[in-house]
Structure formats: C-alpha cells, structure tokens
Symmetry: C2
Subunit: 358 residues, 2 copies
C-alpha cells in the first residue's frame, strides 16, 4: 500500500513579508485561491485515501494545517517538536508508517510545489511504485530543466533501464548541488540532467535501512522514538530525542551515498514557486506586464509584481521591474531580478532581532 | 502696520499618500518635527504679534489649523467656504484687514515653504514695507534660481532702483510662466531671472484697487462680502458670494497687468518643498544615499526616500532611486525623478472616484 508523506515544515522566508514563521509558503494563496498545501492534498483525491496521507509540520503550524485540511484525520497531521531538516522528518514519518504497515511504500513530497496535470503526476507515482515493487531501492523524480536555474539541485541520470507506463526509468549517475550559471548551462546542454524535484518513492523499511547504514545516530534516535510509539511516553520520548537530530537533508544524508537509486523522468509541469518571481507564471499580467494581486493603481508602471490586501491601495508612479508586497505590518519593495535575496533580508531581520515581523 | 496673511488652502496632492484633502502639505511634518504651517507662523515670533497674523484655509481644515496654532486668536484662522485660488483668497483677506485698519500693509505668503534664516526673511519684509511706504505699488520677492526648475514661475527683473537695508530692489520687467527646460536654462544664463516665491507685500487698499481695475467681477463679489462684515448676515453672504469667484491666481489676475510692481531679491534660503524629491534637502542621508523617515531595513538599496510610520516596517531589496511612502491605507512607490507625477496619480484617483484615499 502506498502512503503519502507531505513535508510542510517551511520557515517562511522566501515569500516574506507575506510568509512568516507562523504562515509559511504552503499556507499562502499566491498561486490560486487555495493554500498550496490544500492544492497538494487535493491532488490525491480518488487516488490515495486521506487516512494514508500524512502531513509533517511544526508544532506551531499544526493547528492551522488541520484547519486547512479538514479531510485528513487530525492524527495524520504530525507535528515535529522542532524542525531538523528532511532526513529527520522523513525518518520519523517512515517509522510511523512502518509501525502501521511493515510493508508499506511511501511517497515523500514537498507541500508547496505546483504540479499539473494531476493525472500524470499520480501516474508517475504508480510508475515509481511499480519500480520499487520490481527492483527495490529508492526512486527519485527528475524534472526536465527549462532554464539554467542556479537555485536548484540537479540529478545526472545514468543508463535507461526501463519504461513503466510510458515513464522513462534511469539509473542514477550522480546528484549535483546547486551549480553556478556556467555549470547549469553545461548540465542543460548535455540533456542528461534533471532538476531534483524533492519527490521520492520507496518502502518505509528500505529508507530506514538506508538511514541505519549512512546515518547511524539518526537511526539510534529513531529507534528510541519507535520504542515509545503507542505508549503513554510517546510524546515525551519524541520531545527528548527529536532536538538531538543533526540538521541534515535526506539528499546529503542518504541519497548521495545510496547504491540503488532510480530516476523517473517527470514529464508533468512542475514549479517549486521558489520566490516572488514565480508568481507571474500562475497569474495573467495586465497590458503593462504587471502581475497584480492587490488594490493597485498606477501611472507609467510596468513589469511589476504587486501583492497586497483589501483596504490598502498600492500606487506605482514610473517604476519598472519591481516586486511590491504589502502586509499590515511590513512592506517589501524588491528588484524583480533579486527576489532570491529576500531570504537574505529575512536573515538580516533575524540577526537584528526583528522577530516582530518574522 | 504690517499684517501677515498665510495662505493655507492646499489640496494635498503632491505629497500623497501622506497628504490628503484633510491633511495638506502645510500640516505635514516632513521637514522637521513641526508641521510646516507651525514653522511658518513661528517665523514671526517677536516681529509680528499674533493678532495681526491671519491664516486663510478651508472650512474642512480650519479646526485642525486652530489646533496646530493655539497662539493665534481663533478668529484669525479664516475659513474660505470653498477654495477659489489665490486672487479670491488674497482679496478676501485684504478686505478683512482693511476693515480693521484702512491703512494696513499686508504680507502674503504660502504656508508650506521652508525659509532660513528667519532673521533675514523678516528683514526682507521690512525692506518691502519701506518700499511700499516710499513708492506705493506691489512688492514681490524673487528667489535666485539654483537650477533650471521647470515647475516654477519666473520673474524677469528690470532696472535696479534702490537698495533697502542691503536688499536690492528692482523694477519688474515681466512675469514668466513655468518654462520648459531649455527656456529655464536660458533664464538662468542671463542672471536676470528669479523664481517667483509667491510672497508679496502691499497695502490692503492697493491690492483691492488693483483687483477693482483688473478683476471687476471679483471686486463686485468682495464688495458684497465687505458690506456684510460684522453683521448677522456675514457668514451667509460669504457663503453665497464665495462660490461665484472665478478660479484664478493673483499672478494671472493682477500681477501680470499691474503697472507698479517691484522685485526684491530674496537672499535667504528658500524651498517650496514642492514634492517628495525635496525631502532630502531637509534630512541627512544614510551611507547609501537613502533618506529615511520610517522603520526601514534593506539590502542593496540606495538613493531612496523612504517615509512611513511606527509599527510598520518598510524593507528594500536591491532597489535604487525610489520614493517609498507608506500610510495605513495607501502605499506609494515612485521613481525618484518622477515625484512631480504624483499629482497626476492623484488626479487619476480622483477621476476614478477613489475619494477613500484622497
């Protein structure tokens, strides 16, 4: 049986000031009228029943996530005591799933990406499931890169070994970290590289075996947590052990070392909505190239992304290529080519103690 | 005796969104911690007693003006029933003053300019008073232009006829409307042109005689108003007649035709604070050339003018040469070279019925 694990532990930096520590990207309605996480869950309607969908989020965000996702059993919204990156999150989720079903497969995916069409996405999961059932190992999905993105990790595919339901399946040659522009262009020119989607399919038991092999300290802490599952000490043990996880991603911790990794070419549309610059992909622009999700009036203003709320007018006079975002307690004005630096701004705000706006 | 008439009827367009119809420029604290009109009145402390200072404003603004200027007798804050440009305003003020003192002189000046040093400014009024007592006629003040400003009217001076207390006094050759850049540069190159300060000194009776000659309809309406002064019908007659004034400035209506106009060279520092672009003249900039009157944090942001209020953070990421102004219900982002167009934006907002933010 396939379980789905949605990772929803974002810290809300890239879409500041709309995103905050209590309102991360997956709760925002920047792509459609629904929060990204609601869109994410709805993709599984009719394919995976709600009781087999787990959302892993922070203790702070769990109540809002449960409100946004009333179709999920409340217990399926799992709160990490503290955020410790994806290796801990995935390991913990794998333990919970294996506890329910020792043979379970699990698909792991981020909560805040846009995928279309849904049908093809679901089919890719079935293809991955079939690959795992046939060959064991770990399946990852590669997105065909549309431009030399320097903010993405890349997957270098190896030989093609199969076609499953018209999805090409490859061996993995190598994961590559975020490249510079020149290297990214080289990657694209070869035609052998994919963007790393952060979507995986494997057996819960397999990933836990891999964690045991490559991350023994993680495995030790997970074993403590598993021993308490279903006992009165469960929460206490979780809270004692969880903060001890090293902050490390599943990519660094396991995927780069693992021996049996397959890459399935994901031929659906995919966007990680990585910054304010992604908003125009999902909304029409006006005659002057402005993407407007706000009460906005302007003179001589073009190619801007404007986001605000009702009851507050944003006015532009002779400005070009800006991102303007207004919220009740903070306003951002950012060069359109520099939306990746919003993260740096948030780090700066954290450093100077401006938790009032984070 | 010299009376002072402060014209304070601004409609609050150039400093939108901080200025509004109920909060025009002269009430703003964009230059110092005091509203411009308070600074304006304080210039006369020790020189002209408060009972000889009149402020002419709108009915809507009069209560706030009285609050800002507690040192003035309440009756000296005069409310025009409707705004009808400077000829009506000055004519009405001249009637009120002549009614009190038939021989009175009056100095007329805008409420929202910055002048320094005060001592020299007051001395210039005394020089004008002496000129009027000696020669009769109308005195205007010319500001030595520091750059080819296309938003100012210019005064072409004629022959020098006097020096009074070290102020040069000239005959007027001609008033010139706002020029284009080329013409403005020509004006400056001759050394014979001044900016028109909008400051005047004359006898109340003289300006009324001039209005009678060049603006007979204005004079007829003023005569109606004067006839009712001090009677129970005063307010009623005022409200009946005032709306009938044509909207016309004293410059067009009288000054350009009048035969005896003198120009005194104003050698004090003067700024009409004509737009957001003027703010940096009155405040220090940070290391990156930003002028900040706000809670502001930034990365890679330079040469911006940022105005906001407490409790709202404005953040800049990689933006240059912008004016960013935040108020509770409206935010402006404007190119720094385009602050003159804020007026056009306000006209646009008026046209589309956005009185909620005007």
């Amino acid at each position: 049986m396939l379980y789905v694990v949605i990772m929803a532990g974002g810290s809300g930096t890239r879409f500041w000031p709309l995103s905050r520590s209590s309102m991360p990207k997956h709760m925002l309605t920047i792509v459609s009228e629904k929060p990204l996480i609601a869109e994410c869950i709805e993709r599984f309607a009719g394919s995976v029943p709600p009781d087999r969908i787990l959302v892993v989020t922070t203790a702070e965000q769990a109540p809002s996530v449960r409100q946004i996702l009333p179709q999920l059993p409340a217990a399926n919204v799992v709160a990490e005591p503290v955020g410790r990156d994806t290796a801990a999150c995935i390991g913990y989720a794998a333990c919970l799933i294996r506890h329910r079903d020792p043979d379970a497969l699990m698909a792991v995916l981020p909560s805040d990406h846009v995928i279309s069409p849904t049908r093809r996405f679901i089919e890719s999961l079935w293809a991955a499931q079939e690959t795992v059932l046939k060959r064991d190992g770990l399946v990852t999905f590669g997105i065909r890169p549309s431009w030399p993105h320097t903010g993405m990790g890349y997957i270098h595919r190896g030989d093609q070994i199969d076609v499953v339901n018209s999805f090409k399946v490859f061996k993995l040659r190598r994961f590559r970290e975020k490249p510079n522009l020149e290297l990214a262009q080289q990657f694209i020119d070869t035609g052998e590289y994919y963007w790393n989607s952060g979507i995986f399919v494997w057996r819960a038991s397999t990933i836990l075996d891999e964690i045991e092999e490559y991350m023994p300290e993680h495995h030790r802490l997970l074993t403590n947590i598993v021993a308490a599952l279903g006992t009165p000490e469960e929460q206490k043990v979780l809270e004692e052990n969880y903060p001890k996880f090293q902050r490390i991603s599943i990519d660094f911790g396991v995927m780069e070392m693992a021996r049996t990794v397959f890459v399935i070419e994901a031929d659906y549309e995919w966007d990680d909505v990585g910054s304010w610059g992604a908003v125009p992909k999902h909304h029409p622009t006006d005659l002057h190239g402005n993407t407007v999700l706000a009460d906005f009036e302007s003179i001589g203003t073009s190619d801007c992304i404007v986001v605000g709320e009702r009851g507050h007018l944003i006015a532009g006079v002779d400005v070009q290529k800006l991102v303007i975002v207004h919220t009740p307690d903070a306003t951002l004005v950012c060069g359109r080519e520099s939306t990746g630096d919003v993260k740096k701004l948030v780090e700066h705000l954290r450093k100077i103690g401006r938790t009032d706006v984070l």
